[in-house]
């Protein structure tokens, strides 16, 4: 019983992950590649005297995840190494695992993320006792998208490579906290009948936005704003499609196999 529930979620997630890869290749990945042409260049309209170009490059590094930002930012600002050079050097440390192509890396990551979100969806639905079925699957998917993508995107919109952003750890913390609060809030608003629960739910949903998402100090970027706008819409649209597929497929598999056993 337990294994079947988990398997159903994983299978639904893998299917949604394959679908997501196709959707991404159509619209989102071309925009990312386009933005990367501008990444690391100096912003066209830098406010004079506020930021050094070296720091600009450092904050946009692909693999700067490893680096604690504060001391390295200062070092990078003092360093004679140009941003472009630092960027290349950082890239060599990482690289796509198993020597896969960029596309297979994306496919693999989509499968893993799809299975992960599928399991999270199944876990929540099993724990609160509202099983995902074919008839409510799209609704479950829509709520997943609201909690994981749209509500956090109010504070931290999907970013292109090369966009200015605050410290990674702060943003990740805010992002995860917002998802947890939004999920709890949506549950209280949508599935609890009491008026008080609905009000508390709305407060939970609003709380992270009243607190405020971590914002970059300098919003200058060399990536054209039009690309950013197109990307934000494309990313939210593809993730909505992903969640609808995930919800409906989860419901279908649950109806057909998991709950019948």
């Amino acid at each position: 019983m337990i294994v079947k529930t988990l398997l159903a979620a994983v299978v639904a997630g893998l299917i949604a992950g394959v679908f997501m890869t196709a959707a991404q290749e159509a619209r989102v990945v071309p925009l990312i590649l386009h933005a990367e042409e501008y990444e690391g260049k100096e912003p066209a309209a830098t406010v004079p005297g506020t930021e050094t170009p070296a720091k600009e490059g450092e904050t946009h590094n692909h693999s700067s995840l490893n680096a604690p930002s504060f001391p390295t930012d200062i070092l990078a600002a003092l360093s004679p190494v140009t941003p472009a050079y630092a960027h290349e050097g950082e890239h060599e440390e990482g690289g796509i695992m198993f020597g896969m192509s960029r596309f297979s890396g994306t496919l693999l990551a989509n499968l893993v993320a799809g299975a992960g979100f599928g399991l999270l969806l199944a876990g929540v639905s099993v724990l609160i006792g509202h099983p995902v079925t074919l008839s409510n699957g799209a609704l479950w998917g829509a709520f997943g998208w609201l909690a994981v993508h749209l509500l956090p995107a109010i504070g931290l919109p999907p970013e292109l490579p090369g966009f200015p952003a605050a410290d990674l750890g702060d943003r990740q913390t805010w992002w995860v906290a917002t998802i947890l609060l939004s999920s709890a809030g949506l549950y209280l608003v949508a599935l609890r009948p009491e008026i008080a629960a609905k009000i508390i739910g709305l407060v939970l949903i609003a709380a992270p936005h009243l607190y405020g998402a971590p914002q970059p100090t300098d919003i200058a970027s060399s990536v054209p704003a039009v690309l950013g706008a197109e990307f934000a819409v494309a990313a939210l649209a593809t993730t909505l499609a992903f969640w609808l597929v995930l919800g409906v497929v989860s419901g279908f598999i649950n109806d057909r196999f998991a709950r019948a056993a």
């Binding site: 692909h62 695992m97 724990l127 999907p158």
Partner: protein, 58 residues
């Protein structure tokens, strides 16, 4: 007859708790690995995915 009655029994509370918590743990681990993990190799492999899902990245 016996098999058909077994098949319509819903998950017991205990099974539900175990399944739900297991699913949340494994799912959280997978999403963390694909989206948030602080590793250069994982980041570069999942780079386009992280951006597309709007995970905080870079």
């Amino acid at each position: 007859m016996a098999t058909s009655t077994v098949s319509s029994v819903p998950l017991s509370l205990n099974d539900r708790l175990t399944a739900g918590i297991l699913a949340l743990l494994i799912g959280g681990f997978l999403v963390f690995g694909a989206g948030l993990a602080n590793s250069a190799v994982l980041h570069d492999t999942a780079h386009d995915v992280r951006h597309s899902y709007g995970f905080p990245c870079h």
